[in-house]
Amino acid sequence: MTAPTYDLGKLHGGLRLEGRKTEATREPIYRVPVPAQLILPISQHVGDDAQPVVGIGERVLKGQLIAEPDGTLGAPVHASSSGKVVAIEPWPVARRFGAKAPCIVIECDGEDTPIERAETPPPYNTLPPDVLLAMILQGGIVGLGGAVFPTAQKLMQAVTCELEYLILNGVECEPYISCDDVLMREHAHQVLGGAQILMHALSLNVGYVVVESDKPEAIQRLAEVMSELNDDRLVLKQVPTIYPSGGEDQLVQLVTNLEVPSGGLPTDIGCLVQNVGTAAAIYDWIIDHEPLVSRITTITGDGIAQPMNVEARLGTTVADIVNFAGGYTDRAQQLIIGGPMTGKSVTIDEVPIVKATNCILVLSEPATIGDERPCIRCGECAEVCPIQLLPQQLFWYACADNEAKLREHGLIDCIECGCCDLVCPSHIPLTADFRKAKGRIQELADEKARAERARQRFEARNQRLEKEQQDRDRELAGQKEAAKQAGPAAIAEILKRKQQGSEDD
């Protein structure tokens, strides 16, 4: 059984990459046992860090809230298992340059006692959308496709727009990664149930479930469950296997043939995109009242003894999972958190699995391809760029640090997919250069905003000082005037007192 591939929009560029997914999808999803120690970063999402609400030494239960969102954008963090909080301290996490981030460390008691459910909530379809959104916020759910944008806030933004379609992203186009594939095979019910909840929350009538053509098993399973559910709002769509068709904007373009405007969001053109894993997490939270405390992760690569997909508690270290998958092979050289195109290379395996971790990739040799040589302006990069940018031109401006031109040529729209790197015959690390240039532009913008604020405060202060000075002058003038009027009488008084004084002597 296949879903139709016709009536699709066109995607510019992109690459057909070797999938290398079958090694990990041969086996079912294994559950990694709860480790002795869990390390939970307080920031596993885009936005402000969550603030810990537990103290050191406190006993926590599985699913208990341990850090609350702080600020306008954020998501809560829940304990992945029961145990005792032993530390809240910086710990290495999968970030660039091996930076450390504050983490809550829990020593597990092995009992895995879940927190008691307060009361059974009414069925979701009797709840008004805003109540449902507030509930989703409490589940700690974030976009599990890798961007980890807090789902509740994404939905709250979406309800303010005129929406037409829900697009469930099951494309998973990056090589090696197969966690969404196995999720759809084994938990299709949760995925589609999550889609129904989302459609109810946003009062949508069309939900496209989009899967790449290299996942026939997942497509078949979804189709089966769909016929069971008998919900004619859900439509299964199959897209060709081209990287990066799973990017949010690219997927919208493929499915609706509409282009997301530069600097805009899919909601601007009536689409809300959610990853299939996110939908399943919403189902688990709303129906089974299980917050986001575990996720499916692919552990694969030729440096791993038994590539597989595992369901691991958030906070389990990469080392624990590698051990579970039979350990490293002799050829293991490089550890990447994420996929080969967009992942982050890390040097230690003590980093924890977080909400964003969709893949642990261990490769036998670093993916360097050769020495960087000068750009020959062949234009290959522009051919493959899915955003239709001109990477060769951007590269020029990035080297010259020409901020205005970089903006003009749409650097901000670059999704850092890495296609240009891969085809460059001169082996120029374009994506890395663009990432750096983006950081620089952001820095300049921040600097400008800061300067503007300082200017306003300086001017406000000057105005205040001027006003104070005027008030003082006025008061002084008033006193002088009063003294002048009372003058002769006062002087006579003083003289009289002096005279009396001398007489007394």
Partner: protein
């Protein structure tokens, strides 16, 4: 051919005269320029240039009484931009070491609450009442160091903020 050459030469001469007359007699448009120069300055309000803030310095630069290379926190980047805007040559920075981005930190145990630093702060980033402890609003601090000198107990230090 000669009539053509003469005509063109005459037009060029007349245009040149008109332009030089206009340059001398018409007032230069400076008010907008001051704002634009001010926009390029880092707004630290540190007064290291010798003027009591960024805008006064911008006005002095436009008036021609100050060089474009006096802004230490702005660094060479600012000199380059000012040179671009004003069509002047890039000069090396007058101050050899540009300031690093920093914020002032008050050692709250030693603060005696004299309010001297509070009145020195050009952006009102220090709060605290008379005879009570003061503190710096780090997010608003521009790192100008103007509060360091007035402190009678030397309890203010600058800390790099990346």
């Amino acid at each position: 051919m000669w009539p053509a050459v003469l005509t063109i030469a005459l037009i060029a001469l007349l245009a040149g005269l008109a332009l030089s007359y206009a340059y001398r007699s018409l007032p230069p448009e400076t008010s907008g320029l001051v704002e634009r120069v001010n926009e390029l300055l880092p707004q630290t309000q540190c007064a290291q240039c010798g003027y009591p803030g960024c805008r006064p310095y911008a006005a002095a630069v436009v008036a021609g009484s100050a060089g474009i290379n006096l802004c230490a926190p702005g660094g060479e980047e600012t000199v380059r931009r000012l040179a671009d805007l004003l069509g002047k040559d890039v000069l090396p920075l007058a101050e050899a070491t540009p300031l690093q981005r920093a914020v002032a930190i008050i050692d709250e145990n030693r603060c005696i609450g004299c309010t001297h630093c509070r009145s020195a702060c050009p952006v009102d980033a220090i709060v605290g009442a008379h005879q009570l402890m003061h503190t710096v609003i780090a997010a608003e601090c521009t790192g100008c160091e103007l509060c360091v000198a007035p402190c009678p107990v030397d309890c203010i230090s600058m800390r790099s903020s990346g």
